[in-house]
Amino acid sequence: MPTPRSLRRQNPITFVLAGILCIGFFIFFFSSNDTPSVSAHSGSRQMASNVLSPPSLPFRKSKANEAQKPPPVMHYYMNNVTQSRTPAENEEKVLILTPLARFYQEYWDNLVKIQYPHDLISLAFIIPKTKEGNAAYAALQTQVTKLQKGPNKKRFASVTILRQDTESPLQSQNEAERHKIENQKSRRAAMAKARNSLLFTTLGPTTSWVFWLDADIVEFPPTIIQDLAAYDADIIAPNCYQRYYDDKKKAMDIRPYDFNNWIDSPTAKELAAKMGKDDILLEGYAEMPTYRSLMAMMYDPAADPGTKVKLDGVGGAALLVKADVHRDGAMFPAFSFYHLIETEGFAKMAHRLNRESYGLPNYLVYHYNE
């Protein structure tokens, strides 16, 4: 009688069963409920296994007790990075770039409302190291930490925040008009460098679209990315307006704001031909009448909202660019490029690379009004 019992107790099968049960118990007990959903998306929604990875991808934190492994060999199939008319359906990644000098809560609220799968959107900001920039940085950080904490539907794929000293020299406002234009040039050059720094450090190998959005754009249709991408244009800009209170009409009204979206004119070309190599043409200066056709002036609420015009110069307020345009080398010149600088020079450089810019005069985004 006692022998079979002890045998039964020490039977290896008992141990094996207990072991299996234990393992199963641990797996079911400790594995979380949303693991399957993560693995289901791992194909298109990539993540990196190492800190050394494109900033446009989220990465898995390495644990303190984990052995340090050498970074893996990563393959990126850039032939598969497409730019189609239906980006959300094709799971195309969008990088939203904002040079940030001042943080507006309205900007952030509007950005979070964007109706494009947030796990396909990466955000990147570049903030100058000034007093104002520090304040903006703190405000942005608060909002970002709040939104990106833990898994939730609104969380963006990744957020990159860059800081950099501005090269912009002190601007002397008491100088003559000519100097004002000079100041404008150095300001735009610094802006161009900031844009390029932001772009080329965050673009990465997986981005399909780059959406440039200024920090003072506070209102646009939430489907703006799908709407603009549907035109299948290399570079496409909506019309930038501003809401204001019209004292005469005693009502809210809108007025044109961004004058950098234009179609070139013979007058401007003549002006440019007479200029020195490093001089630039600027829009909106009385002493430099260019007679260019400004998209800001083409807005017609009665006309077809889908109207598209070809542009020679673009502004940076809101701009959807195929990532391939930037990859081919189109950047924001910080020097006089065909007498153009920054975003206007960008349109020209893209044109030299056989990439065309378009504008939507009747599709409005709104600038902040102080």
Partner: protein
């Protein structure tokens, strides 16, 4: 006196014994009577079963109702407790002021991005990885980025295998940082063979598509952590292991070494290779003004005489390797540039920028943005020598010449041999004749002896047996000429043939 104390002793002793016996008895019962055990065991089994049922129950409950699972927080079991999703880090902060690039980057742990565009480069990869392994700059600070496009050979699998080996190295100091392989086909039609690569007509288009590939590579691989970017062609044959530090020490925005290539001796031993590093000249600027917007000036072709001072031609093998020279166009074989140059927008124009494209346009654009562009005329790296079509033709001619010479030599040798053979055959003739003479003498002697014994009619029989005797007697008699008979006969046969042929000449 003895008795009275005895009785009290005895009972105590008896008592003692009794108690001892009792103790022993109880001890024995403990050890050998397992009566109380089954109950305890049964209870233990009950506990086990209860635990089992409970764990099964909870497993079931947690399986079907995942919301009821308790959150145990992080700890040693954090691998199980927290999901992949909450382990994700999505926010990154960078300060670009920290990655401006300094002269002593290896001390400040400055990261370098090493870029290499590849196309049909499988045969050079082993050499290239040899160079990589030998670099003295800390490997963990070097990020590698490769763009493989339009390759028809096995560049990609080979590259992958080499990189995997590199990261699996037993020595952790050999491991590099981030490694990206970007696959992108641009659909270029241009052939990659030496002739079409360097033909003048193909240059503009080729340079533009090369520029495009470089830009794609850089824009996909540049990170906010990089202080330097190093461009390196895979077909560099010899370069110092310390090249990164050597170039970095100069603390220039863009710096290139001199690039030469070794040549076969018949071509002069060595030759300047990279003619794209040059200083601008008035002639070239004037020429640029006459060309149309999309034209691209390329160096090293007779079509564009630019009279520019080239870095390559200024080399002095014994010159100071630290000597610097301001340049305007740069060659792409080995460029070290501060990452801020690329961050601020300088790239390889895939269009005609001030009449230049790719690396030369890169130099021009950097100059335009006030960056320092410098070449080191006496610091040389060596490019692989790939013979050009002309060289190949020349080499073929040389080969032909060599073969002709060889054939001639062979003929001469043969003739010498023939002459020698003839000489040999003469001597063998002589030997043979001598042997024959001796034979004849012997025969005569034999005949004389036989004449006495045999009739003249039997002389014919004796003649048939002669060969046997001949061999025997030749072996016995001509000890000097032993074994000579057979080869000599062959020689003689050939010798006779040739003698007849050569006779007219003689």
């Amino acid at each position: 006196m003895f008795r009275p104390p005895l009785p009290p002793h005895l009972p105590s002793l008896l008592h003692h014994r009794h108690s001892w016996r009792h103790d022993a008895n109880s001890y024995c019962r403990c050890r050998f009577q397992p009566r109380s055990q089954p109950a305890l065991r049964r209870r233990r089994q009950l506990i086990q079963r209860l635990l089992l049922v409970a764990s099964l129950f909870f497993t079931g409950v947690f399986f079907f109702f995942p919301n009821l699972r308790p959150n145990l927080g992080s700890g040693p079991l954090s691998f199980f407790t927290s999901s992949e999703d909450s382990q994700l880090e999505t926010v990154r902060y960078y300060d670009l002021n920290n990655v401006q690039g300094t002269a002593r980057g290896w001390e400040r742990e400055e990261r370098i991005l090493l870029c290499a565009p590849l196309r049909d480069a499988a045969q050079h990869l082993d050499m290239f990885f040899g160079h990589l392994k030998n670099l003295t700059y800390p490997h963990n600070l070097i990020d590698l980025a490769f763009l493989v496009g339009d390759s028809k050979d096995n560049t990609l699998p080979k590259l992958n295998a080499l990189l995997e080996d590199l990261q699996a190295d037993a020595n952790p100091k050999q491991h590099f940082g981030e490694i990206s392989i970007l696959e992108k086909d641009f659909g270029q039609k241009v052939d990659q063979n030496v002739e079409s690569r360097h033909g003048f007509a193909a240059q503009a288009g080729r340079r533009k598509s090369m520029a495009q590939a470089r830009n794609w590579l850089l824009s996909a691989a540049l990170r906010p952590t990089h202080s330097w970017v190093y461009w390196r062609d895979v077909d560099v044959e010899t370069a110092p292991f310390t090249i990164l530090e050597d170039l970095m020490r100069h603390n220039k925005d863009i710096i290139v070494p001199n690039v030469w290539r070794p040549l076969p001796d018949w071509l002069g031993g060595e030759q300047p290779y990279d003619l794209n590093s040059w200083q601008e000249s008035e002639t070239a600027l004037a020429l640029a003004d006459t060309l149309d917007e999309d034209a691209v000036i390329v160096e090293g072709y007779a079509e564009y005489a630019t009279w520019r001072p080239h870095l390559a031609y200024l080399r002095d093998p014994y010159g100071d390797p630290d000597m610097e020279m301001e340049i305007d166009g740069v060659g792409g074989v080995s460029i070290l540039a501060k990452a801020k140059v690329f961050r601020q927008g300088v790239h390889f124009p895939a269009f005609s920028f001030e009449k230049h494209a790719e690396t030369e346009g890169f130099g021009k654009m950097a100059k335009r943005m006030k960056f320092s562009v410098v070449g080191l005329p006496h610091y040389t790296i060596w490019h692989l020598y790939e013979p050009s079509v002309d060289d190949i033709r020349h080499m073929e001619e040389m080969e032909k010449e060599r073969k002709a010479k060889e054939a001639e030599e062979a003929a001469k040798k043969e003739r010498m041999e023939k002459i020698k053979d003839q000489f040999d055959s003469k001597s063998s003739d002589w030997e043979r004749e001598k042997a024959e003479v001796q034979n004849l003498v012997q025969k005569a002697k034999n005949e004389e002896k036989e004449k006495e014994k045999q009739e003249k009619a039997k002389a014919e029989q004796a003649k048939q047996e002669k060969p046997k005797e001949e061999v025997k007697e030749a072996g016995e008699q001509a000890k000097r000429a032993d074994n000579f008979l057979e080869p000599e006969e062959i020689h003689e046969a050939r010798g006779v043939d040739e003698k007849q042929k050569l006779e007219p000449k003689q």
